[in-house]
Amino acid sequence: AQSVTQLDSQVPVFEEAPVELRCNYSSSVSVYLFWYVQYPNQGLQLLLKYLSGSTLVKGINGFEAEFNKSQTSFHLRKPSVHISDTAEYFCAVSVLLRRFGAGTRLTVKP
């Protein structure tokens, strides 16, 4: 069975600082990997996805993630965050069905 672990439940950072949100997964077969963002009182919006090919994936809003098969990780990064990036971020793994991590609340402070 597949599972997803988001290693940090909350990440506070200052504006313009870099950020990394960590995600590890477990699966015995090839996977699809996703990061979603959820703004307050809204549904989930896809940030980026890894299906195959290049292990460095670029998404919307300046985010990127790197698929590391040997470490079974898919960490999300942004070199300089804005106040508007404050939201909850979910990592998801899809083999047969999509499984989500518990979420990381990113708070960007001025």
Binding site: L51, S94, A102
Partner: protein, 118 residues
Amino acid sequence: DVKVTQSSRYLVKRTGEKVFLECVQDMDHENMFWYRQDPGLGLRLIYFSYDVKMKEKGDIPEGYSVSREKKERFSLILESASTNQTSMYLCASSFFFGAIPGSGPEAFFGQGTRLTVV
């Protein structure tokens, strides 16, 4: 743009009531999903459907049922609402991909329905 529309943003229901949550998508997706979202637990799959009248249980189906009479519409039913079903409910849809029912490369989400059972 893909649009997934949930019929209500907020609902308040009484214990024991039968509750219907409706979801409609406009992209002709084969797969549709219902999740519930609770703090610290992320999203958990309740049920999914890969075709009209076809449904499969997810991880937490107890206390819920679903209906898919038309391709664009997927309903979640709480047969007898209880306070532990107070939650945010999210509907999603995706194209069918590969040979496995329910599989797909990407899911599109509705805005969510925050249900409170009192």
